[in-house]
């Protein structure tokens, strides 16, 4: 089951490289911000699933609204002459690192738990 998202990622990358979709050069900075927001949401989703608090609708809507809002914010900032995209970069960047750290901690916790469970099971079998 774990290979399904990886496959999706590969298919998405292939789709982007094969199809001839282009966006205007002026909008490509918004695309970068949107990518950052999307990455943040994905890692947030993985973290939530490890903490057993994953909610599919929340995750899906969060992904799309975060992406769009980040791009929109950058656009508005550009129109106002304020580098608002910096705010998005900082906010999403910090959260990205926090999420990755939380995922790491959760994975370790999970591994230790399994080890203990295995030991307990082994002890129960022995006598």
């Amino acid at each position: 089951m774990i290979w399904l998202p990886v496959l999706g990622l590969v298919v998405g990358v292939a789709l982007g490289l094969v199809t001839n979709v282009t966006i205007p050069v002026a909008f490509s900075s918004y695309l970068s911000i949107a990518i950052l927001a999307a990455l943040d949401t994905v890692f947030g989703g993985i973290r939530a699933s490890l903490e057993k608090s994953f909610d599919s609708p929340v995750f899906l809507t969060g992904f799309f609204t975060n992406t769009l809002v980040a791009a929109l914010l950058a656009y508005i900032g550009n129109q106002l002459g304020v580098d608002l995209y910096l705010a998005a970069v900082v906010a999403f960047g910090v959260r990205l690192f926090q999420n990755i750290a939380a995922i790491r901690r959760n994975v370790f916790l999970l591994l230790r738990q399994r080890k203990i469970e295995r030991e307990v099971a082994a002890r129960q079998v022995q006598p």
């Binding site: 998202p5 490289l17 900075s29 599919s56």
Partner: protein, 238 residues
């Protein structure tokens, strides 16, 4: 549906979109960098263009200096090759004189200098108080008529093929875009040049009447002028 299946399905959807976006961004960035434009905002584009402009200007300046050095070398060789023959020496002197008039050697000598700039607006027509190409041209023509041997506008030598023309908000001299104030220098007999400009009802009076600020011509004992550096060959005529 089980939570795990749901998780995997939504993660797959999201990673599909993410992958698409990432590859799109990657391709976009590659195309942009191959074009020489970075796409991290318009300020980055400006910065890069400015850097390239500065580099070009520097190399231009270097080439100019090189040209001046080579011209100097040629002159020295010619002097040497003239040797002791009187006829060759006469030819050499004439060549030097012609070169000065053609403007292809740096020269120095006594002359005059003046500065003209846009007048202050006091409710009059803006068109009137701006320094136009024909204002500069008329002063230069007056100087040559009065016997100037070499003339520069903001350190750009004016020669027979030079054009002083209007280019929107600026004036182009030899293809260099210049803005006010214009410092015009001329080598020649200082008193003749000065009186030619200062004559009552003459060119300077007319320009001042128009509303420009024109300084009094200053007599200079030694003006250094660079050589004309653009191409001299006539390409459009037979």
């Amino acid at each position: 549906m089980r939570t795990k299946t749901k998780l995997m399905l939504s993660l797959t959807t999201v990673s599909l979109v993410l992958g698409f976006m990432v590859s799109l961004g990657y391709r976009q960035n590659r195309v942009a960098s191959s074009l020489g434009v970075l796409v991290t905002g318009s300020s980055a584009v400006n910065k890069q263009l400015t850097q390239r402009l500065t580099a070009l200007k520097e190399s231009n300046q270097e080439a100019d200096q090189q040209l001046a050095a080579v011209t100097e070398e040629i002159n020295q060789f010619e002097e040497k090759s003239a040797g002791s023959s009187q006829a060759l020496k006469n030819l050499q002197t004439r060549l030097t004189a012609e070169r000065i008039l053609a403007g292809i050697t740096p020269v120095h000598g006594p002359g005059i200098s003046l500065t003209m700039t846009d007048g202050g607006s006091n409710g009059s027509d803006v068109e009137q108080i701006l320094t136009h190409d024909w204002n500069v041209r008329s002063v230069v023509n007056e100087l040559f008529t009065a016997g100037a041997e070499a003339v520069t506008i903001n350190d750009y030598r004016v020669v027979a093929t030079s054009a002083v023309e209007c280019q929107g908000p600026v004036v182009s001299v030899n293809g260099h875009r210049l803005g006010a104030p214009f410092q015009i220098e001329a080598i020649g007999d200082p008193t003749t040049l000065k009186s030619a400009l200062d004559i009552p009802g003459g060119i300077l009076d007319a320009l001042r009447q128009q509303g420009l600020q024109v300084s009094e011509p200053q007599i200079e004992t030694d003006i250094d002028m660079p050589a004309y550096t653009n191409a001299l060959e006539a390409t459009g005529t037979n």
